[in-house]
């Protein structure tokens, strides 16, 4: 599952936003799953970085790479990322032809859609990335996109034409309505809605609360600093509401192996 993948492309989409294509044979990817990327062969930064799988690539462009596991369904993956710190800065300097260590796909991703449910996707900024595969699979419903300003709406490009209605909210009002994306959510919900949310923690918390009030299910995709990505370091814990009936009665869930997608009501947002 640890693969040295050749970089197919690593293109700037907008200032500080990049689209990274990796040639690696991966088993079927569920929407919401992620990979751990090693951005440097050196010892600093030491840990891998987690990134959602944006989409799978059927055909590798550029040179093809001899990877193991020939029964795999796709020849590569794409990741969208924003430069926020040391690791993503290093990543943004990589060029096609270089190789990166990839571990994944990891995590459980989004559960299959329940019969008759009415999907509402809620994305905050870069949080839209793990929702693309889901949107494509669903092929209907609504996508609510929140951003700081119009500049970030380029992230919506790939989502147009997938069959979802798209509504936008920006903090400065430069695109869509002025305000938070959770404002849009309130008007969108029915008890048949199923909400899929990814973005900043404040947004997720609000989405879970609003959904709960409307009697709708809400699935949130969480982010947490990770060391291993495979459930063994116990570093990426989030506080869950204790369930008496559960055998281990664990307070803590691991974002990497129990998630990264959780039912919103399972999370103890105050103790997160």
């Amino acid at each position: 599952m640890e693969i040295k993948a050749e970089i197919i492309h690593n293109d700037s989409m907008a200032k500080g936003y990049f689209k990274l294509g990796l040639a690696c044979a991966v088993p079927e990817v569920r929407p919401g799953q992620f990979v751990m990327l090693r951005v440097s062969d050196g010892l600093d930064p030491l840990l891998r970085r987690p990134f959602g799988i944006y989409r799978t690539l059927g055909q590798t462009r550029g040179r093809t790479l001899g990877t193991r596991g020939s029964s795999s369904k796709s020849k590569g993956i794409e990741v969208l990322y924003r430069v926020v710190g040391k690791g993503t800065a290093i990543l943004s300097g990589k060029r096609p032809g270089e190789t990166l260590g990839v571990l994944g796909p990891l995590g459980n991703g989004f559960p299959d859609r329940a019969e008759g449910s009415n999907p509402v996707l809620v994305a905050g900024g870069m949080g839209i990335a793990p929702l693309y595969l889901l949107a494509r699979r669903l092929g209907e419903g609504t996508l609510l996109f929140g951003a700081r300003s119009k500049a970030e709406t380029f992230l919506l490009k790939d989502f147009r034409g997938l069959g979802l209605k798209i509504k936008t909210a920006t903090e400065d009002g430069s695109a869509g309505i002025k305000g938070l994306v959770t404002g849009l959510l309130e008007n969108e919900l029915t008890p048949e809605s199923i909400v899929y949310a990814c973005g900043p923690v404040g947004m997720l918390k609000a989405a879970a609360a609003i959904s709960g009030k409307a009697g709708a299910r809400c699935l949130v995709s969480l982010e947490r600093s990770m060391a291993c990505g495979i459930g063994v370091c116990l570093g990426c814990a989030v506080r869950a509401k204790a369930h008496k009936e559960e055998k281990e009665n664990r307070f803590y869930k691991m974002v990497c192996s129990d998630g990264p997608v959780f039912p919103g009501e399972e999370i103890d947002w105050d103790l997160l």
Binding site: M1, E2, L46, L103, C228, V232, C236, A237, R239, Y252
Partner: protein, 311 residues
């Protein structure tokens, strides 16, 4: 009986407390789960041993998050010793690895001497446990929270109590947060330990300067990874000079070259910790690299142990 065939001892074989290890590379406690989690990434049978996550008498939930932070060439953790508890381990985790073809070593801890004794007792009869590793880097609740592993008298008490509670070999895992590691080695030996392992993590702290808060919810945590390797090698070297029992070395091992530093300094075996987070099969790669070095240099681990020349 047929004719006696003299078997050549494998170049990588080592013996600790009567246990034969096919190679001197184990995984470190808390960095390899209960073992089975890593089966998809490697043949567990290639390992000298697996030290499982620290076990307590009852399940522990661990600390609130954030529990980890990256540091220059290292990481801090404050997991809070989350574990399923010794009974659940025996019932549900141990069966998954007991036939993996490697030694399973149970790492144990407690908040009182009695805790340690009871955990040791419960593991005593457990099929498939080869040895106990006693983590003494834990706060002693009865002594007002001072850490067992920083006070030689408390260390002696806990080691001798465990020694009396089990027939398994006892490895004492030492804390590096002490002025003189040799004193701690002697305390563990006086307590009847069969081996010592070191180093556990070094207490550290990272501050988020924008929020003016520690990054970890618990303020401080344990530093591990290559950043601490020079400190670990020094302490293993000092421990090996003071010890009459075998020493197991660890702290920042990322490659076979790193493992060799510890062996040459006096370690009979090594443990690979943080590296397994970055490359799940890091420990197997270390074992393979060690084999290569041995055959290239036509030597054995046995000959390398403590072979450091300082004059």
């Amino acid at each position: 009986m047929g004719p006696v065939v003299k078997k050549t001892k494998a170049a990588t074989e080592v013996t600790i407390a009567g246990l034969k290890f096919k190679n001197p590379v184990m995984t470190a406690s808390g960095t390899f789960g209960y073992g089975a989690e890593f089966a998809p990434y490697m043949d567990l049978g290639r390992l000298g041993g697996i030290v499982v996550k620290g076990l307590s008498l009852y399940p522990r939930q661990g600390n609130p998050g954030p529990r980890i932070a990256e540091t220059p060439c290292g990481m801090l953790n404050a997991i809070g010793l989350q574990n399923v508890g010794v009974d659940d381990f025996i019932e549900r985790k141990l069966p998954l690895v007991r036939n993996a073809g490697t030694h399973i070593i149970a790492n144990i801890f407690g908040e009182t001497v009695e805790d340690y004794m009871e955990v040791a007792r419960r593991l005593d009869g457990a099929e498939g446990v080869s040895a106990l590793e006693v983590n003494i880097s834990c706060p002693n609740v009865k002594k007002g929270g001072i850490v067992f592993g920083t006070d030689p008298q408390e260390a002696f008490k806990v080691v001798s109590a465990v020694r009396k509670s089990t027939s398994l070999p006892v490895i004492t895992k030492l804390s590096p947060n002490v002025t003189d590691i040799k004193v701690m080695v002697r305390a563990a030996e006086d307590g009847g330990t069969d081996a010592v392992s070191l180093i556990n993590t070094i207490t550290g702290m990272v501050i988020d300067v924008e929020r003016r808060r520690p990054v970890l919810a618990t303020a401080t945590g344990g530093l591990s990874g290559p950043a601490i390797r020079p400190i670990a090698v020094r302490m293993v070297w000092q421990a090996a000079q003071a010890a009459s029992v075998p020493v197991i070395g660890m702290g920042g091992i990322m490659s076979a070259r790193d493992a060799l530093e510890f062996i040459i300094a006096g370690a009979t075996a090594v443990q690979v910790g943080t590296a397994s987070f970055i490359e799940p099969d890091a420990a197997v790669k270390v074992a393979e690299g060690l084999e290569e070095y041995l055959s290239k240099n036509e030597t054995t681990v046995q000959d390398l142990i403590g072979s450091l020349r300082t004059a």
